[in-house]
Amino acid sequence: MSLDVDGLTVYYKSLRGDVKAVDGATFQIADGEIMGLAGESGCGKSTLGKSLIRLDARMRYVSGHVELDGTELPIWDDREMNPFRFKEVSIIPQYALSALNPTRKIGIVATELLASRGVRMNGMRPELERRLELVGLSASVLERFPIELSGGMKQRVVMVISSLLNPSLLIADEITSALDVSTQRAVAEMLVEFRDRGFVKSMIVITHDLSVLYQVADTILVMYAGKLVEKASSEAIINAPKHPYTQLLLSSLPEVGVRYADKRLSGIPGRPPSLLEPPEGCRFKTRCPLAFAKCGEEPPLVEVEPGRSVACWKVAPC
């Protein structure tokens, strides 16, 4: 499969005007690629992910095209997206732990979801049980209520159900954030396993945790204040980041092995701009140590090397 996103712009309506959550996002994902979508809170990564499946009524599609395997996804219309949801594009929502209706058994939730796509549970049941076993859960979990499961187990159940119909694209929205470090590892490795076994063709893993992305993603796309700032392979982003924001962000992450007494890390001063009235030009310029005159004009995302794009005048002057 391949995903082609061109100029995607999505706003949220609010009392005080439009919040420009995602502005002109353009990128591609190849078949079998796990792309990590990283950024801090409010950068628009969750919005971008959700807009590809159009599951949030507050979003307002403004412009842009999304093509999945050559077919245009009608992400501007809720109803038209219906046949694509869960079959072609699926999502493991943020806070999946509370996405399960507490008053229904897991099995019932799965049956209803399949029925809404016109698939009968009887036919899918063997496959469902096989997958549950793969993630380390017994089939009896279908007879349980969500409250009887731990956080990690619920997360795995939601993962299995979301990918049951073998979607081409799976969007995982902050699925490891609320988990303990050991469960986090299990869940993240499971994502890769899903891809390796062909349950899912490609994935977008949305998280603020770059270190998890280093472990599981092939490529990483970094967002800041609604704009894409850098895209490259995980190795390249982590070991040789080019955009100043990526560099500063990476240098502010403590790793096991770094101590305060030996090497003082520093954060990025300032705050991200308000997305109601974003500034002209590069949105990072007020916090960027490399900012200069040209930053008043918005830098485009250009390919500086094969497989690496950066949106910065210093890196790609042109």
Binding site: E40, S41, S150, G151, G152, M153, D180, V181, S182, T183, Q184, R185, A186, A188, E189, H208, D209, L210, S211, V212, Y214, Q215, I238, N239, L248, L249, L250, S252, L253, P254, E255, V256, G257, V258, R259, Y260, R264, L265, S266, G267, I268, R271
Partner: protein, 300 residues
Amino acid sequence: MLRLDTCCKTYRVGAFGGGELLAVNDVSFEVAPGEVVALIGESGSGKSTIGKMILRLLRVTRGTITFDGVDISSLEGRKLKDYYADVQAVFQDPFSSYNPIFKSDRVFAMLRHEYFSGLSGSEWKAKLERSLDSVSLSPGDVLGKYPHQLSGGQLQRLLIARALLLDIRMLVADEIISMLDASTRIDVLNLLGELKSRGLGVLFITHDLSLGHYISDRTIILRRGSVVERGSTQKVFGNPIHPYTKMLLASVPQLHKKWEEAAKELEVPAAAAGEGIGAVERPTPLVEVEDDHFAAVEPG
């Protein structure tokens, strides 16, 4: 300075408290002045419970907690207030720590009302400004605003400033940066480091090993209510003995090492550990494996 001796906490569960849940089991450790002690554990390990017991927000079921040799469970009224002038806390969710309908300065006003009612307006103002300065906040930026108008990092620093107003000797920091953005986390963490060099003792409760390793002098690894390993941070991280510690270290996502490599280095089996809450009934006692490094392993 602060000392916990075989502390236990049992919760009553079920209708009319029929059942029991042992959340903290036989935990002992100390915090000395000018020292950051990291209390590391996953969810259900009891780390927050220990923090709350130290703060007298929960009662200890068994065991004692002493501060400067005085048993804190005996403190009431005036003495309890004096204790709070020595020990304060900052919690995990900055937006939950402030009453959302009031301005954020209210936390200072409350403190003034309880502890500094004798000070004049200008004296208070000066004191407040000095406190804000020590956490690198400018009064104009943060005073007179509602919590939702400030960022998480600013709110956490305001809480630290509040604690500093009292000239505390120990701070309980319960997951104080886990809800902050990556770029602001390190600033708050560095602030703790600065305060430590001025003699403040910090109990840094976290689930994040990298943060614990960055800032702490000594580390305590907690599992299901019991201590499984403790000692100087460098020794615990550099030479982990207990299998749980090794498993935790192997599961931390690192920026330059893949999980398979880390697991191989630490000789940990690939599968992740099981989950569950509730303590093991009889915890293994700690054995000294080297100087300032103890682990709960069978001796020999």
